[in-house]
Amino acid sequence: MDLGALFGNFNNFLDFTVGGLVIGAIYALVALGYTMVYGVLQLINFAHSEVFMYGTFAVAWTFVLLHGTGDASWSLGRAVPILLVALVAAMLMSAAIALLVERFAYRPLINKNAPKLIALISAIGASFALAEAMGLRDRFAKWFGLDDNLANYVAPNKARDVYSNPVSIQPHGLFHIGGYSVTDVDLVVVVAALVMMFALDIFVRRTKFGRGIRAVAQDPEAAALMGVNSTRVVQVTFLVGGLMAGAAATLYMMKIGSTRQNAGFLLGVKAFTAAVMGGIGNLRGALLGGLLLGVMENWGSAVFGSEWKDVVAFVLLVLILLVRPSGLLGEALGKARA
């Protein structure tokens, strides 16, 4: 244990903290997808990690399409036009995958009033199927004879290997907090995540669809009697979760730059943890949980060594749940005040 590594030098402390906040913001955006679906259906959508993963590929593919495969290093400003297109592509891709999951892994079961456990397992199955489909995309392309035309996208024989955005985005320092230089990329990731969160919060609390979501979350039968189309509400919930995951994927690719067919797994576990930590079913809880998890991981790395960072994060989760079993802000989606 080395408390000096964390607290010995204020600049290092800021470095660890800001680094944690940036990755935590991405956790938070992915956590929204888990929390929304849980709030409405009381189900954990384990396929949400794949919804995110498809978004990361959409970002890389957009860059390959609009820039080509030549290795390049751009400033954030230069990358913005393609990034915006990539953002739209990733949101559409992730939303489409989320709707697919809803249509084929959930709706048939919900319509048959299947036990919740069945839907959970169906989601795990969907998650595997989606991840493997991405890992086998070179074979699918081959079936259609497109593997040569699409070689830059499907990576023949290397489909399971890491896949990188050809353009790596070079961060530039904007201003200093103490001795820590805050970069444009860090700032965009955190601010974009916060803006998306507030937009979603307003959507749920102030719009007609949002009222429908809250109504179904509170009491699906009463909501149905009041004329709320619950199938539509569930669809919109998946759609919104997918859009947020697409945005998270864009920010992730901006910061990390590489993905692979199993990239969703670890991030999904972290985001799910963040959702539980903040109080699953609670939008603001997802934000708090994500940021807290990111920061605790980095502090844990500093004090105990990086091999202990997950231990620190999950011990913290257990402790929080022991004291507050419903999470930090443990309030369900349906009870959010209008």
């Binding site: 030098n9 290997d161 890491v162 990188s164 790596s168």
Partner: protein, 379 residues
């Protein structure tokens, strides 16, 4: 698992008995063959028989196994062209590089009477999983590519490799960092896997006081911000990473973005063009990636990493054949005392089956490309 000295002794005794029984079987077979085969004079009893290759031919690392088979086929073709009356062919066993799949294939290999020698296994995991099977069957083997240090510490006297192990690489890397690259303070990082910990640990112990600190990330980790902060805070002027190219690339990228300007070095797990793609050209430039394998000599007709080693391993078996060895025991003794110059360098084995002298090469990234043709040999 060997938990105590007692069970170790019991194991050694069992293995000894097994070896005796097997060699007894072997010699009785030879006697039978001697009455028919040797009458002709020079023609070996092994003519028309097979060498086996066990390793990844498909799957994530399939390309490496394909390289090896190319090297083996080249050696066999050259031999068979010269010895039309005594052809040797190759049987391949595709393990996909998996320690789970290799043992079943190993059983197939030892039950196939037409196989007199094994090129492989390709990787360290499958070598450890199958070594005992091959040793107890008495089948001599030469691996072109398995580098884990512990394989040759098991007492499997039929197991050999024509490539430097991870200790040799770690010691050479440490030497290169301090003597050639001029590093004074090195931060050592690994990903916690056996290969990575072994290599990084050897680098750290060889560096001695020049190793300032160490840390361990995990496989699949993508955000390295905490490690980057630690490296910068330590004042290190070089980073050594033991692990594979994905995490190595992300680490190199985030170190540079975080303002680290020192040297970045990693081992053969990172020596892959994908390292440059993940890190991005700007961050990858100047990276040093070592490997216990050099480029093929000019005019060598099989390409790819490990092709030369597989070619050399095959030629050792063929040399045993030419020297008139026709049973497993004699071939194994021949390999043990073999000395020669192969396509990958001078070859001779120590009593554990490790290559005596191996050269470690440093491959450099320049102008956004991993230069695979002009590595620098660490002397």
């Amino acid at each position: 698992m060997i938990r105590s000295k007692k069970s170790l002794r019991a194991f050694a005794a069992l293995a000894g008995v097994a070896a005796l029984t097997l060699s007894a079987c072997g010699s009785s077979n030879d006697n039978n063959k001697g009455t028919t085969g040797d009458n002709g004079g020079s023609k070996s009893a092994l003519c028309g028989k097979n060498l086996a290759f066990l390793g990844a031919l498909t799957g994530d690392a399939g390309a490496l196994g394909q390289n090896m088979v190319n090297g083996i086929n080249l050696a066999l073709k050259q031999y068979n062209d010269k010895n039309a009356d005594c052809k040797i062919s190759l049987k391949t066993f595709d393990s996909q590089g998996s320690p789970d799949k290799a043992p079943a294939l190993a059983t197939q290999v030892i039950n196939d009477d037409s196989i007199f020698g094994l090129i492989g296994p390709g990787f360290s995991g499958e070598s450890l999983a199958t070594g005992k099977t091959f040793f107890e069957a008495g089948l001599p083997s030469i691996s072109p590519s398995a580098t884990n240090v512990t394989i040759t510490q098991q007492g499997w006297t039929t197991w050999h490799r024509v490539i430097g192990n991870d200790d040799a690489q770690g010691a050479a890397d440490a030497k290169y960092l301090t003597e050639t690259a001029g590093a004074k303070k090195v931060y050592v990082i690994d990903d916690g896997q056996d290969y990575s910990k072994g290599l990084a640990g050897k680098v750290k112990s060889s560096l001695g006081a020049a190793a300032v600190a160490s840390d361990q990330i995990s496989v699949g980790q993508t955000d390295m911000s905490a490690v980057v902060t630690k490296v910068k805070a330590s004042g290190a002027d070089a980073v050594f990473y033991g692990g594979y190219y994905t995490e190595a690339g992300l680490l190199a990228k985030q170190l540079r973005q975080g303002g680290f300007t020192g040297k970045f070095m990693s081992g053969d797990g990172s020596e892959d063009p994908n390292f440059v793609k993940v890190a991005g050209a700007a961050a990858a430039n100047g990276a040093l990636l070592s490997a216990p394998a050099g480029p093929a000599p000019a005019g060598f007709a099989a390409s790819g990493l490990y092709a030369t080693q597989a070619y050399d391993a095959t030629n050792i078996f063929l040399a045993a054949l030419a020297a008139g060895k026709d049973n497993a025991k004699d071939i194994n003794a021949f390999i043990g005392s073999y000395t020669g110059d192969g396509a990958s360098g001078p070859i001779a084995f120590d009593d554990k089956g490790d290559i005596k002298q191996s050269t470690i090469y440093v491959y450099k990234v320049a102008d956004g490309k991993l230069d695979v043709d002009n590595p620098e040999a660490i002397k």
